[in-house]
Symmetry: C2
Subunit: 276 residues, 2 copies
């Protein structure tokens, strides 16, 4: 990967760099093909804002090799970029490579207009980042661990007994805790009216909450149905519907770019779901 | 909490705000008393840079109530701040409250000089953020889940059988994976020489790696000892010693402000440790 471009920019000011590394450089998402997974949060940020991007493993001949080369034990990165541990990886232009889902979103947020304007609210992007980290903790990482409580490298069937126990705790304790938390965020004044999580406008935290609620609804349809009908989380489910109805999001969800859930983070094993 | 100060600042420019919300405002850490926990990453950022801060629950009469009030189900935040789900919480001045460990560090990094200068390297802070998120994933969150694989709300003794299985996987697969990853980062050119994780200078990612390696060394002394003596992770352990020997860090570690591990994220249960 050519590194001369950015190295030469290191002598320039931040403002000069910001204009040079702006939207004119192409965005590429490097993520496992065929599953939504953690890459879906990045896809939604691009799709909701109408930002062109290339989903490398799904849309180019490189396929899964693009991912494998990045996460290889032999990859030590380049002059500008440490190696990534895992995808999703964002490539911006030729010489910027970033990993970790919430980190990629923090980088994209200001560029795609998915956080408050930093000149008017310099702290807003940190609130959006915290809300995103919390949604990913409780509504993405934990649901993954429900079907893989012992070892992520082993099959579900090898840890099914433990998964049944963890699923019971997730349904009874953790899922209501996180939905209740976001209901509380939407009830608070910093949400700016309760339609969006922060500041009265769409941010990438809303997209993440949409995607994680969509995922747990797929994995635990009975339990989420029961929680929804309780009426205790009406603001959360209204936000979910509000994001889903955005023109660009709606078009995306109806396109073949929206991949189906299968054996990724969110899995539907009927034995792990129940109303209670 | 008074919210008028920051609300009025929303009309000002980012530069004006940055200067007004600079280091002159006091920093307060709101975290559980008596344990290092996730609050330790914030303490280390302050201590390593000689930045004054108040550790509210340990150093003021408010004690644990300062934490409980923030995470109460009744707290809906204020005009500027969504409520936090959990500590650590950073209070900066009167009207900024931020949660989530890596988010607080991302906020503090530029203010405390613990990331590259943004005018010279506008992407560096995202690399530091990614490295931090990865260390917290594999060397903090996963070690916690080793002793609580089924339910964080239940006692270790209630999930000891499953913990024994998860510990075996953590020791054999996950711990070497993450140490190997950071060895690879330190072997790459973006580290700037292999003494620090990114850009040839101390960043908060180094402090986080120090603390997480310290934690797993406490929890799994036999296993970490064996991995250390393998010679495969020499750069990681050298970085650990390098951070530990920094004047301000050394003074802190020898002070009574450095709390002892007990029943927090890192726990030493001899039955969960082994050389293999």
């Amino acid at each position: 990967m050519a590194s001369s471009t950015r190295s030469s920019k290191r002598q320039k000011t931040g403002a000069e760099m910001a204009s040079e590394t702006g939207d004119s450089l192409p965005y590429k998402l490097i993520y496992w093909p065929s599953i939504p997974g953690r890459g879906e949060h990045i896809r939604l940020a691009f799709e909701a804002t109408g930002t062109p991007y290339i989903d490398v493993a799904n849309q180019t001949d490189a396929g899964v090799n693009a991912v494998m080369a990045q996460i290889s034990d032999k990859n030590i990165g380049d002059d500008n970029n440490p190696p990534p541990l895992a995808p999703p990886i964002l490539q911006h232009g030729d010489d910027i490579l970033l990993s970790q889902t919430p980190n990629i979103l923090a980088y994209l947020g200001p560029k795609l207009g998915l956080v408050s304007d930093v000149t008017a609210d310099s702290v807003g992007l940190y609130h959006v980042n915290a809300l995103t980290l919390t949604a990913l903790d409780g509504l993405s990482n934990e649901p993954h661990d429900v079907h893989h409580p012992i070892a992520s490298s082993a099959y579900y069937e090898e840890q099914k007994e433990e998964a049944l126990k963890k699923a019971a705790d997730y349904r009874a304790v953790r899922l209501p805790k996180f939905l209740g938390y976001f209901e509380r965020v939407l009830s608070g004044p910093a949400s700016g009216g309760g339609e969006w999580l922060y500041g009265g406008k769409l941010t990438y935290a809303d997209l993440v909450l949409f995607q994680t609620v969509d995922g747990v609804s797929y994995a635990f349809p009975k339990r989420v149905g029961k929680l929804k009908s309780s009426g205790k989380y009406d603001k959360v489910f209204a936000l979910y519907e509000r994001v889903k109805a955005l023109d660009k999001v709606k078009s995306y969800l109806e396109s073949d770019r929206r991949l189906k859930y299968s054996l990724g983070i969110y899995r539907h094993y009927p034995e792990l779901d129940a109303e209670d």
